[in-house]
Amino acid sequence: MTTPLLSVEGLGKRYGAQVGCLDVEFELWPGEVLAIAGESGSGKTTLLDCVSGRMQPDAGRVEFNTRHEGMQDIYRMSEPRRRLLARTDWGYVHQNPRDGLRIGVSAGANVGERLMAVGARHYGRIRDTTRDWMGKVELDTARIDDLPATFSGGMQQRLQIARNLVTHPRLMFMDEPTASLDVSVQARLLDLLRGLTRELSLAAIVVTHDLAVARLLAHRLMIMKEGRVVESGLTDQVLDDPQHPYTQLLVSSVLQA
Protein backbone atom coordinates (compact mmCIF):
# COMPACT_ATOMS: atom_id res chain seq x y z
CA MET A 1 0.00 0.00 0.00
CA THR A 2 1.84 3.07 -1.14
CA THR A 3 -0.97 5.63 -0.85
CA PRO A 4 -2.26 6.69 2.51
CA LEU A 5 -6.01 6.58 3.23
CA LEU A 6 -6.08 10.23 4.24
CA SER A 7 -3.58 12.97 3.52
CA VAL A 8 -3.72 16.36 5.22
CA GLU A 9 -1.47 19.22 4.12
CA GLY A 10 -1.03 22.73 5.50
CA LEU A 11 -4.48 22.72 7.08
CA GLY A 12 -5.61 25.95 8.71
CA LYS A 13 -8.86 27.46 9.96
CA ARG A 14 -9.47 30.78 11.67
CA TYR A 15 -12.48 32.24 13.43
CA GLY A 16 -12.07 35.95 12.77
CA ALA A 17 -8.83 36.84 14.53
CA GLN A 18 -8.86 33.64 16.55
CA VAL A 19 -6.80 30.66 15.33
CA GLY A 20 -8.79 27.40 15.14
CA CYS A 21 -5.93 25.32 13.84
CA LEU A 22 -2.79 26.10 11.89
CA ASP A 23 -0.28 24.29 9.66
CA VAL A 24 -1.53 20.79 10.38
CA GLU A 25 -0.03 17.98 8.33
CA PHE A 26 -0.30 14.24 8.62
CA GLU A 27 -1.07 11.05 6.80
CA LEU A 28 -3.32 8.27 7.95
CA TRP A 29 -2.90 4.71 6.73
CA PRO A 30 -5.55 1.99 6.42
CA GLY A 31 -6.26 0.36 9.76
CA GLU A 32 -4.35 3.03 11.64
CA VAL A 33 -5.83 4.82 14.64
CA LEU A 34 -4.65 8.36 15.26
CA ALA A 35 -5.51 10.19 18.47
CA ILE A 36 -5.57 13.97 18.64
CA ALA A 37 -5.20 15.12 22.23
CA GLY A 38 -5.16 18.50 23.90
CA GLU A 39 -7.07 20.71 26.29
CA SER A 40 -10.37 22.25 25.32
CA GLY A 41 -9.67 25.16 23.02
CA SER A 42 -6.59 23.45 21.60
CA GLY A 43 -8.17 23.20 18.16
CA LYS A 44 -8.66 19.45 18.08
CA THR A 45 -12.40 19.58 17.34
CA THR A 46 -11.83 22.20 14.64
CA LEU A 47 -9.26 19.91 13.10
CA LEU A 48 -11.65 16.96 13.22
CA ASP A 49 -14.42 18.96 11.58
CA CYS A 50 -12.08 20.08 8.81
CA VAL A 51 -10.75 16.62 7.98
CA SER A 52 -14.18 14.97 8.16
CA GLY A 53 -15.72 17.25 5.56
CA ARG A 54 -17.92 19.16 7.98
CA MET A 55 -16.11 22.46 7.85
CA GLN A 56 -14.20 23.99 4.98
CA PRO A 57 -10.70 25.05 6.07
CA ASP A 58 -9.21 28.42 5.12
CA ALA A 59 -5.91 26.88 4.04
CA GLY A 60 -4.53 23.51 3.05
CA ARG A 61 -5.89 20.31 1.58
CA VAL A 62 -7.58 17.16 2.77
CA GLU A 63 -7.33 14.23 0.39
CA PHE A 64 -9.07 10.89 0.76
CA ASN A 65 -8.24 7.71 -1.09
CA THR A 66 -11.60 6.92 -2.67
CA ARG A 67 -12.47 3.36 -3.70
CA HIS A 68 -12.65 4.06 -7.42
CA GLU A 69 -10.88 7.29 -8.18
CA GLY A 70 -7.81 7.38 -6.00
CA MET A 71 -6.80 10.39 -3.94
CA GLN A 72 -9.42 13.14 -4.13
CA ASP A 73 -9.49 16.53 -2.45
CA ILE A 74 -12.66 16.28 -0.38
CA TYR A 75 -13.44 19.97 -0.68
CA ARG A 76 -13.10 20.05 -4.45
CA MET A 77 -15.65 17.25 -4.70
CA SER A 78 -19.28 18.04 -5.34
CA GLU A 79 -21.49 18.22 -2.26
CA PRO A 80 -23.50 15.12 -3.27
CA ARG A 81 -20.30 13.07 -3.54
CA ARG A 82 -19.03 14.27 -0.21
CA ARG A 83 -22.35 13.57 1.47
CA LEU A 84 -22.40 10.09 -0.06
CA LEU A 85 -18.90 9.40 1.26
CA ALA A 86 -19.96 10.61 4.69
CA ARG A 87 -22.81 8.09 4.62
CA THR A 88 -20.87 5.12 3.34
CA ASP A 89 -17.08 5.15 3.50
CA TRP A 90 -16.79 7.38 6.56
CA GLY A 91 -18.34 7.26 9.99
CA TYR A 92 -18.70 10.00 12.57
CA VAL A 93 -19.23 9.25 16.23
CA HIS A 94 -20.43 12.22 18.29
CA GLN A 95 -19.50 12.73 21.90
CA ASN A 96 -23.15 12.85 22.82
CA PRO A 97 -24.88 9.86 21.23
CA ARG A 98 -28.11 11.82 20.91
CA ASP A 99 -26.38 14.01 18.32
CA GLY A 100 -25.57 10.99 16.22
CA LEU A 101 -28.84 9.08 16.48
CA ARG A 102 -32.41 9.63 15.39
CA ILE A 103 -34.07 9.75 18.77
CA GLY A 104 -37.58 9.37 17.38
CA VAL A 105 -37.07 6.05 15.60
CA SER A 106 -36.20 2.58 16.84
CA ALA A 107 -32.72 1.15 17.31
CA GLY A 108 -33.27 -1.01 14.25
CA ALA A 109 -34.25 1.96 12.11
CA ASN A 110 -31.21 3.85 13.32
CA VAL A 111 -28.85 1.09 12.31
CA GLY A 112 -30.69 0.30 9.08
CA GLU A 113 -30.95 3.91 7.87
CA ARG A 114 -27.62 4.02 6.04
CA LEU A 115 -28.46 0.78 4.29
CA MET A 116 -31.80 2.16 3.18
CA ALA A 117 -30.11 5.38 2.10
CA VAL A 118 -27.95 3.44 -0.34
CA GLY A 119 -30.84 1.43 -1.72
CA ALA A 120 -31.44 -1.58 0.54
CA ARG A 121 -35.05 -2.58 -0.05
CA HIS A 122 -35.54 -5.94 1.63
CA TYR A 123 -36.98 -5.48 5.10
CA GLY A 124 -36.00 -8.94 6.32
CA ARG A 125 -32.40 -8.63 5.20
CA ILE A 126 -32.10 -5.14 6.66
CA ARG A 127 -33.27 -6.57 9.98
CA ASP A 128 -30.76 -9.43 9.77
CA THR A 129 -27.87 -7.10 9.03
CA THR A 130 -28.99 -4.82 11.83
CA ARG A 131 -29.09 -7.66 14.34
CA ASP A 132 -25.63 -8.72 13.24
CA TRP A 133 -24.21 -5.31 13.98
CA MET A 134 -26.10 -4.94 17.23
CA GLY A 135 -24.49 -8.21 18.23
CA LYS A 136 -21.05 -7.00 17.24
CA VAL A 137 -21.39 -3.95 19.46
CA GLU A 138 -22.71 -6.15 22.26
CA LEU A 139 -26.28 -4.87 22.27
CA ASP A 140 -29.18 -7.18 23.02
CA THR A 141 -30.72 -7.89 19.61
CA ALA A 142 -34.12 -8.38 21.22
CA ARG A 143 -34.14 -4.61 21.70
CA ILE A 144 -34.07 -3.93 17.97
CA ASP A 145 -37.46 -2.21 18.09
CA ASP A 146 -36.83 -0.17 21.22
CA LEU A 147 -36.38 3.58 21.07
CA PRO A 148 -32.91 4.98 21.80
CA ALA A 149 -34.21 6.93 24.78
CA THR A 150 -34.79 3.61 26.57
CA PHE A 151 -31.10 2.72 26.25
CA SER A 152 -28.41 3.75 28.72
CA GLY A 153 -25.76 6.25 27.64
CA GLY A 154 -23.23 3.52 27.03
CA MET A 155 -25.72 1.51 24.98
CA GLN A 156 -26.71 4.58 22.97
CA GLN A 157 -23.06 5.08 22.15
CA ARG A 158 -22.79 1.48 20.96
CA LEU A 159 -25.89 2.04 18.87
CA GLN A 160 -24.31 5.11 17.31
CA ILE A 161 -21.25 3.09 16.47
CA ALA A 162 -23.29 0.28 14.90
CA ARG A 163 -25.24 2.86 12.88
CA ASN A 164 -21.97 4.05 11.39
CA LEU A 165 -20.38 0.68 10.79
CA VAL A 166 -23.23 -0.87 8.88
CA THR A 167 -21.89 0.35 5.51
CA HIS A 168 -18.35 -0.90 6.21
CA PRO A 169 -16.64 2.48 6.30
CA ARG A 170 -12.88 2.50 6.05
CA LEU A 171 -12.44 5.62 8.14
CA MET A 172 -14.14 6.65 11.40
CA PHE A 173 -14.02 10.08 12.97
CA MET A 174 -14.72 10.11 16.71
CA ASP A 175 -15.21 13.17 18.85
CA GLU A 176 -14.55 12.26 22.50
CA PRO A 177 -16.47 8.98 22.12
CA THR A 178 -16.37 8.09 25.80
CA ALA A 179 -16.33 11.51 27.45
CA SER A 180 -20.05 11.63 28.22
CA LEU A 181 -20.10 8.19 29.83
CA ASP A 182 -19.56 6.95 33.38
CA VAL A 183 -15.99 5.93 34.09
CA SER A 184 -17.04 2.34 34.64
CA VAL A 185 -18.78 2.23 31.28
CA GLN A 186 -15.92 3.95 29.45
CA ALA A 187 -13.53 1.09 29.90
CA ARG A 188 -15.89 -1.42 28.31
CA LEU A 189 -16.62 0.87 25.38
CA LEU A 190 -12.95 1.48 24.79
CA ASP A 191 -12.39 -2.25 24.80
CA LEU A 192 -15.12 -2.64 22.22
CA LEU A 193 -13.67 0.10 20.04
CA ARG A 194 -10.22 -1.39 20.23
CA GLY A 195 -11.54 -4.79 19.24
CA LEU A 196 -13.62 -3.44 16.38
CA THR A 197 -10.90 -1.28 14.87
CA ARG A 198 -8.57 -4.28 14.84
CA GLU A 199 -11.12 -6.78 13.62
CA LEU A 200 -12.48 -4.54 10.84
CA SER A 201 -9.14 -2.91 9.97
CA LEU A 202 -10.76 0.42 10.57
CA ALA A 203 -8.74 3.58 10.35
CA ALA A 204 -9.86 6.16 12.85
CA ILE A 205 -9.14 9.67 14.05
CA VAL A 206 -10.10 10.03 17.69
CA VAL A 207 -10.24 13.41 19.38
CA THR A 208 -9.80 13.20 23.12
CA HIS A 209 -8.66 15.19 26.10
CA ASP A 210 -7.96 11.94 27.93
CA LEU A 211 -4.50 10.49 27.33
CA ALA A 212 -5.60 7.11 28.66
CA VAL A 213 -8.03 6.83 25.74
CA ALA A 214 -5.18 7.59 23.38
CA ARG A 215 -2.99 5.01 25.04
CA LEU A 216 -5.62 2.33 24.70
CA LEU A 217 -6.88 2.97 21.19
CA ALA A 218 -4.30 4.75 19.12
CA HIS A 219 -1.23 3.72 17.20
CA ARG A 220 -0.17 7.34 16.84
CA LEU A 221 -0.79 10.43 18.87
CA MET A 222 -0.78 14.14 18.03
CA ILE A 223 -0.70 16.76 20.80
CA MET A 224 -2.32 20.10 20.07
CA LYS A 225 -1.92 23.39 21.84
CA GLU A 226 -3.51 26.70 20.77
CA GLY A 227 -4.27 25.40 17.31
CA ARG A 228 -0.89 23.93 16.51
CA VAL A 229 0.48 20.41 16.62
CA VAL A 230 3.32 20.54 19.14
CA GLU A 231 4.29 16.90 19.11
CA SER A 232 3.37 13.72 17.26
CA GLY A 233 4.60 10.17 17.01
CA LEU A 234 3.89 6.62 18.14
CA THR A 235 1.54 6.74 21.09
CA ASP A 236 3.76 4.91 23.52
CA GLN A 237 6.79 6.96 22.56
CA VAL A 238 4.98 10.28 23.00
CA LEU A 239 3.48 9.27 26.32
CA ASP A 240 6.55 7.55 27.77
CA ASP A 241 9.16 9.96 26.45
CA PRO A 242 7.50 13.33 25.77
CA GLN A 243 9.81 15.84 24.13
CA HIS A 244 7.77 19.05 24.05
CA PRO A 245 7.35 20.86 27.42
CA TYR A 246 3.59 21.02 26.93
CA THR A 247 3.36 17.30 26.32
CA GLN A 248 5.49 16.73 29.40
CA LEU A 249 3.08 18.88 31.37
CA LEU A 250 0.06 16.97 30.09
CA VAL A 251 1.61 13.60 30.75
CA SER A 252 2.78 14.48 34.23
CA SER A 253 -0.58 15.95 35.22
CA VAL A 254 -2.25 12.70 34.23
CA LEU A 255 0.15 10.72 36.37
CA GLN A 256 -0.56 12.93 39.35
CA ALA A 257 -4.34 12.59 38.96
Partner: protein, 297 residues
Protein backbone atom coordinates in the same frame (compact mmCIF):
# COMPACT_ATOMS: atom_id res chain seq x y z
CA UNK B 1 -69.76 38.63 -2.34
CA UNK B 2 -70.53 37.99 -5.95
CA UNK B 3 -72.06 34.54 -5.87
CA UNK B 4 -72.23 34.68 -9.60
CA UNK B 5 -74.35 33.47 -12.44
CA UNK B 6 -73.11 32.70 -15.90
CA UNK B 7 -73.96 36.24 -16.91
CA UNK B 8 -71.46 37.61 -14.42
CA UNK B 9 -68.67 35.77 -16.18
CA UNK B 10 -67.35 38.92 -17.76
CA UNK B 11 -68.67 41.47 -15.29
CA UNK B 12 -65.65 43.07 -13.57
CA UNK B 13 -63.43 39.98 -13.42
CA UNK B 14 -61.01 38.58 -15.95
CA UNK B 15 -61.81 35.18 -17.48
CA UNK B 16 -61.21 32.61 -14.73
CA UNK B 17 -60.71 35.38 -12.18
CA UNK B 18 -56.91 35.62 -12.39
CA UNK B 19 -55.28 38.37 -14.42
CA UNK B 20 -53.32 37.30 -17.48
CA UNK B 21 -49.94 38.01 -15.88
CA UNK B 22 -50.72 35.69 -13.05
CA UNK B 23 -51.94 32.97 -15.42
CA UNK B 24 -48.73 33.32 -17.39
CA UNK B 25 -46.70 32.93 -14.22
CA UNK B 26 -48.64 29.82 -13.24
CA UNK B 27 -48.35 28.31 -16.70
CA UNK B 28 -44.60 28.80 -16.63
CA UNK B 29 -44.51 26.96 -13.33
CA UNK B 30 -46.68 24.19 -14.82
CA UNK B 31 -44.38 23.83 -17.83
CA UNK B 32 -41.40 23.53 -15.57
CA UNK B 33 -43.24 20.98 -13.46
CA UNK B 34 -44.14 18.89 -16.52
CA UNK B 35 -40.51 19.02 -17.66
CA UNK B 36 -39.33 17.67 -14.29
CA UNK B 37 -41.91 15.06 -13.27
CA UNK B 38 -42.59 15.05 -9.54
CA UNK B 39 -40.44 18.09 -8.76
CA UNK B 40 -42.12 20.80 -6.66
CA UNK B 41 -41.93 24.13 -8.47
CA UNK B 42 -42.38 27.20 -6.24
CA UNK B 43 -44.92 29.70 -7.55
CA UNK B 44 -46.35 33.03 -6.43
CA UNK B 45 -49.68 31.74 -5.14
CA UNK B 46 -52.37 34.42 -4.99
CA UNK B 47 -55.06 34.93 -2.42
CA UNK B 48 -58.28 33.56 -3.87
CA UNK B 49 -61.87 34.02 -2.78
CA UNK B 50 -61.77 30.60 -1.16
CA UNK B 51 -59.59 30.05 1.90
CA UNK B 52 -56.13 28.53 1.84
CA UNK B 53 -56.44 24.87 2.60
CA UNK B 54 -59.72 24.65 0.68
CA UNK B 55 -58.31 24.11 -2.78
CA UNK B 56 -56.75 27.42 -3.83
CA UNK B 57 -53.80 25.61 -5.43
CA UNK B 58 -56.01 23.39 -7.51
CA UNK B 59 -58.18 26.39 -8.38
CA UNK B 60 -55.21 28.44 -9.55
CA UNK B 61 -53.94 25.60 -11.70
CA UNK B 62 -57.38 25.07 -13.22
CA UNK B 63 -57.80 28.81 -13.73
CA UNK B 64 -54.50 28.96 -15.56
CA UNK B 65 -55.29 26.12 -17.98
CA UNK B 66 -59.05 26.38 -18.50
CA UNK B 67 -60.35 27.68 -21.81
CA UNK B 68 -63.84 28.65 -22.99
CA UNK B 69 -64.37 25.30 -24.71
CA UNK B 70 -63.36 23.13 -21.79
CA UNK B 71 -65.87 20.94 -19.99
CA UNK B 72 -65.20 21.01 -16.27
CA UNK B 73 -65.91 18.38 -13.61
CA UNK B 74 -65.21 19.07 -9.93
CA UNK B 75 -65.26 16.35 -7.27
CA UNK B 76 -64.48 16.09 -3.60
CA UNK B 77 -64.23 12.68 -1.92
CA UNK B 78 -65.24 11.31 -5.32
CA UNK B 79 -68.58 13.07 -5.33
CA UNK B 80 -69.76 16.01 -7.43
CA UNK B 81 -72.27 17.03 -4.79
CA UNK B 82 -70.17 17.66 -1.69
CA UNK B 83 -70.20 21.30 -0.57
CA UNK B 84 -66.62 22.04 -1.52
CA UNK B 85 -67.05 20.62 -5.03
CA UNK B 86 -70.27 22.60 -5.44
CA UNK B 87 -68.57 25.81 -4.38
CA UNK B 88 -65.62 25.42 -6.69
CA UNK B 89 -67.80 24.47 -9.63
CA UNK B 90 -69.92 27.58 -9.02
CA UNK B 91 -66.81 29.70 -8.89
CA UNK B 92 -65.68 28.53 -12.31
CA UNK B 93 -69.14 28.77 -13.82
CA UNK B 94 -69.33 32.34 -12.61
CA UNK B 95 -65.87 33.39 -13.75
CA UNK B 96 -65.62 31.47 -17.03
CA UNK B 97 -69.06 30.43 -18.16
CA UNK B 98 -67.69 27.05 -19.29
CA UNK B 99 -69.88 23.97 -19.47
CA UNK B 100 -69.72 21.70 -16.46
CA UNK B 101 -70.50 18.02 -16.17
CA UNK B 102 -70.67 15.24 -13.65
CA UNK B 103 -69.63 12.59 -16.16
CA UNK B 104 -65.94 11.74 -16.13
CA UNK B 105 -66.00 10.65 -19.77
CA UNK B 106 -67.39 14.03 -20.90
CA UNK B 107 -64.94 16.19 -18.97
CA UNK B 108 -61.81 17.69 -20.48
CA UNK B 109 -60.66 19.10 -17.16
CA UNK B 110 -61.29 17.47 -13.77
CA UNK B 111 -60.43 19.14 -10.49
CA UNK B 112 -60.39 16.71 -7.61
CA UNK B 113 -59.92 16.56 -3.88
CA UNK B 114 -58.82 13.26 -2.37
CA UNK B 115 -59.83 10.83 -5.17
CA UNK B 116 -58.98 9.76 -8.66
CA UNK B 117 -62.10 8.88 -10.70
CA UNK B 118 -62.74 5.15 -11.10
CA UNK B 119 -63.45 5.54 -14.81
CA UNK B 120 -60.07 5.32 -16.59
CA UNK B 121 -58.94 8.63 -18.02
CA UNK B 122 -58.01 9.21 -21.65
CA UNK B 123 -55.28 11.09 -23.44
CA UNK B 124 -56.19 14.75 -23.68
CA UNK B 125 -57.86 14.91 -20.29
CA UNK B 126 -56.30 16.88 -17.44
CA UNK B 127 -56.65 15.91 -13.80
CA UNK B 128 -55.94 18.68 -11.29
CA UNK B 129 -55.32 17.58 -7.70
CA UNK B 130 -55.78 19.80 -4.64
CA UNK B 131 -52.73 19.37 -2.40
CA UNK B 132 -52.54 20.39 1.29
CA UNK B 133 -48.91 19.47 2.03
CA UNK B 134 -46.72 18.92 -1.02
CA UNK B 135 -43.54 17.83 0.75
CA UNK B 136 -43.29 14.05 1.32
CA UNK B 137 -40.42 14.43 3.78
CA UNK B 138 -42.15 17.11 5.85
CA UNK B 139 -43.16 14.82 8.74
CA UNK B 140 -39.62 13.59 9.10
CA UNK B 141 -37.80 16.88 8.49
CA UNK B 142 -39.57 20.16 9.32
CA UNK B 143 -36.99 22.38 7.64
CA UNK B 144 -37.76 23.38 4.05
CA UNK B 145 -34.12 24.23 3.38
CA UNK B 146 -33.09 20.70 4.35
CA UNK B 147 -35.87 18.88 2.43
CA UNK B 148 -34.99 20.83 -0.69
CA UNK B 149 -31.42 19.62 -0.36
CA UNK B 150 -32.59 16.06 0.14
CA UNK B 151 -34.59 16.20 -3.10
CA UNK B 152 -31.69 17.74 -5.00
CA UNK B 153 -29.40 14.96 -3.83
CA UNK B 154 -32.09 12.24 -4.05
CA UNK B 155 -31.41 11.45 -0.39
CA UNK B 156 -34.60 9.51 0.26
CA UNK B 157 -33.38 6.94 2.78
CA UNK B 158 -35.37 8.70 5.47
CA UNK B 159 -38.65 7.92 3.74
CA UNK B 160 -37.88 4.23 3.87
CA UNK B 161 -36.95 4.59 7.53
CA UNK B 162 -40.52 5.67 8.17
CA UNK B 163 -41.93 2.70 6.28
CA UNK B 164 -39.51 0.40 8.13
CA UNK B 165 -40.76 1.76 11.46
CA UNK B 166 -44.35 1.11 10.44
CA UNK B 167 -43.59 -2.52 9.68
CA UNK B 168 -41.62 -3.03 12.87
CA UNK B 169 -44.43 -1.49 14.93
CA UNK B 170 -47.56 -2.66 13.14
CA UNK B 171 -46.41 -5.49 10.96
CA UNK B 172 -47.35 -3.53 7.86
CA UNK B 173 -46.89 -0.12 6.33
CA UNK B 174 -49.36 2.12 8.17
CA UNK B 175 -49.78 4.84 5.57
CA UNK B 176 -53.20 4.44 3.99
CA UNK B 177 -53.55 7.72 2.09
CA UNK B 178 -51.23 10.34 0.64
CA UNK B 179 -48.92 7.40 0.11
CA UNK B 180 -45.47 8.46 -1.15
CA UNK B 181 -44.44 7.57 -4.69
CA UNK B 182 -41.34 7.80 -6.87
CA UNK B 183 -42.02 9.55 -10.17
CA UNK B 184 -40.12 8.61 -13.31
CA UNK B 185 -37.58 6.90 -11.10
CA UNK B 186 -36.33 10.19 -9.71
CA UNK B 187 -38.42 12.49 -7.51
CA UNK B 188 -40.21 11.45 -4.37
CA UNK B 189 -43.72 12.85 -4.48
CA UNK B 190 -46.85 13.09 -2.41
CA UNK B 191 -49.92 12.31 -4.49
CA UNK B 192 -52.20 14.39 -2.16
CA UNK B 193 -54.52 12.64 0.32
CA UNK B 194 -55.96 10.15 -2.16
CA UNK B 195 -56.38 6.71 -0.62
CA UNK B 196 -53.54 4.36 -1.55
CA UNK B 197 -56.24 2.44 -3.39
CA UNK B 198 -55.92 5.11 -6.08
CA UNK B 199 -52.11 5.12 -6.36
CA UNK B 200 -51.93 2.53 -9.15
CA UNK B 201 -54.13 4.77 -11.30
CA UNK B 202 -51.36 7.38 -11.45
CA UNK B 203 -48.91 4.97 -13.03
CA UNK B 204 -48.58 5.58 -16.79
CA UNK B 205 -51.91 7.36 -16.86
CA UNK B 206 -52.62 8.71 -20.37
CA UNK B 207 -53.99 11.93 -18.87
CA UNK B 208 -51.91 14.89 -17.69
CA UNK B 209 -51.84 15.06 -13.89
CA UNK B 210 -51.25 18.46 -12.29
CA UNK B 211 -50.91 19.14 -8.57
CA UNK B 212 -51.50 22.54 -6.95
CA UNK B 213 -50.67 23.52 -3.37
CA UNK B 214 -51.83 27.13 -2.88
CA UNK B 215 -50.93 27.75 0.71
CA UNK B 216 -47.55 26.06 0.43
CA UNK B 217 -47.04 27.67 -3.00
CA UNK B 218 -45.92 24.65 -4.99
CA UNK B 219 -46.97 23.12 -8.29
CA UNK B 220 -45.90 19.71 -9.55
CA UNK B 221 -46.89 17.40 -12.35
CA UNK B 222 -46.88 13.89 -13.75
CA UNK B 223 -46.86 14.01 -17.56
CA UNK B 224 -48.93 11.44 -19.48
CA UNK B 225 -47.59 7.88 -19.61
CA UNK B 226 -45.07 8.45 -16.80
CA UNK B 227 -44.09 5.64 -14.43
CA UNK B 228 -45.23 6.26 -10.86
CA UNK B 229 -44.20 3.68 -8.30
CA UNK B 230 -45.45 3.49 -4.71
CA UNK B 231 -42.66 2.96 -2.18
CA UNK B 232 -42.37 -0.39 -0.51
CA UNK B 233 -40.00 -3.17 0.49
CA UNK B 234 -39.33 -6.24 -1.61
CA UNK B 235 -40.72 -8.46 1.11
CA UNK B 236 -43.52 -6.05 2.03
CA UNK B 237 -44.88 -5.03 -1.33
CA UNK B 238 -47.34 -2.20 -1.80
CA UNK B 239 -50.95 -3.34 -1.57
CA UNK B 240 -54.30 -1.58 -1.90
CA UNK B 241 -57.36 -1.67 0.29
CA UNK B 242 -59.98 -4.32 -0.31
CA UNK B 243 -63.57 -4.75 0.83
CA UNK B 244 -65.36 -8.00 1.40
CA UNK B 245 -68.56 -6.61 -0.02
CA UNK B 246 -69.72 -4.75 -3.08
CA UNK B 247 -71.46 -1.44 -3.57
CA UNK B 248 -75.01 -1.62 -2.25
CA UNK B 249 -76.28 0.48 -5.16
CA UNK B 250 -74.50 -0.83 -8.24
CA UNK B 251 -72.76 -4.02 -7.17
CA UNK B 252 -69.26 -2.83 -8.09
CA UNK B 253 -66.45 -4.86 -6.53
CA UNK B 254 -63.60 -2.83 -7.96
CA UNK B 255 -64.27 0.67 -6.62
CA UNK B 256 -63.47 2.50 -3.39
CA UNK B 257 -66.43 2.17 -1.06
CA UNK B 258 -67.69 4.74 1.44
CA UNK B 259 -69.03 3.42 4.72
CA UNK B 260 -72.44 4.86 5.62
CA UNK B 261 -73.76 4.57 9.15
CA UNK B 262 -77.44 3.65 8.83
CA UNK B 263 -78.54 3.27 12.45
CA UNK B 264 -77.18 3.36 15.97
CA UNK B 265 -77.02 -0.40 16.31
CA UNK B 266 -73.92 -0.86 14.17
CA UNK B 267 -75.83 -0.88 10.88
CA UNK B 268 -73.52 -0.14 7.99
CA UNK B 269 -73.85 0.19 4.26
CA UNK B 270 -71.09 0.49 1.67
CA UNK B 271 -71.50 2.53 -1.52
CA UNK B 272 -69.17 3.70 -4.28
CA UNK B 273 -67.30 6.85 -3.34
CA UNK B 274 -67.24 7.85 -7.02
CA UNK B 275 -70.85 8.92 -7.56
CA UNK B 276 -70.50 9.22 -11.35
CA UNK B 277 -69.06 5.72 -11.65
CA UNK B 278 -71.83 4.31 -9.51
CA UNK B 279 -74.55 6.06 -11.42
CA UNK B 280 -73.04 4.96 -14.71
CA UNK B 281 -73.08 1.35 -13.62
CA UNK B 282 -76.67 1.61 -12.39
CA UNK B 283 -77.70 3.12 -15.70
CA UNK B 284 -76.30 0.05 -17.36
CA UNK B 285 -78.68 -1.86 -15.12
CA UNK B 286 -76.23 -3.69 -12.95
CA UNK B 287 -78.52 -4.55 -10.13
CA UNK B 288 -76.89 -5.05 -6.76
CA UNK B 289 -76.97 -8.64 -5.56
CA UNK B 290 -78.43 -9.25 -2.11
CA UNK B 291 -75.89 -7.72 0.30
CA UNK B 292 -73.39 -10.40 1.20
CA UNK B 293 -72.64 -10.37 4.92
CA UNK B 294 -69.33 -12.11 5.21
CA UNK B 295 -68.09 -12.67 8.71
CA UNK B 296 -65.14 -10.43 9.33
CA UNK B 297 -62.27 -11.67 11.52
Amino acid sequence: MNHGTAADATAGYNFAYLDEQTKRMIRRAILKAVAIPGYQVPFGSREMPLPYGWGTGGIQVTAAVIGPHDVLKVIDQGSDDTTNAVNIRRFFRATTGVATTERTTEATLIQTRHRIPETPLAEGQILVYQVPIPEPLRWLEPSEAETRRMHALAEYGLMHVKLYEDISRHGKIATTYDYPVRVNGRYLMRPSPIPKFDNPKMDRNPALQLFGAGREKRIYAVPPHTPVKSLDFEDHPFEVQTWDRCCAFCGATDSFLDEIVTDDRGGRMFVCSDTDYCRGRREQAHAAPAPVEKATA
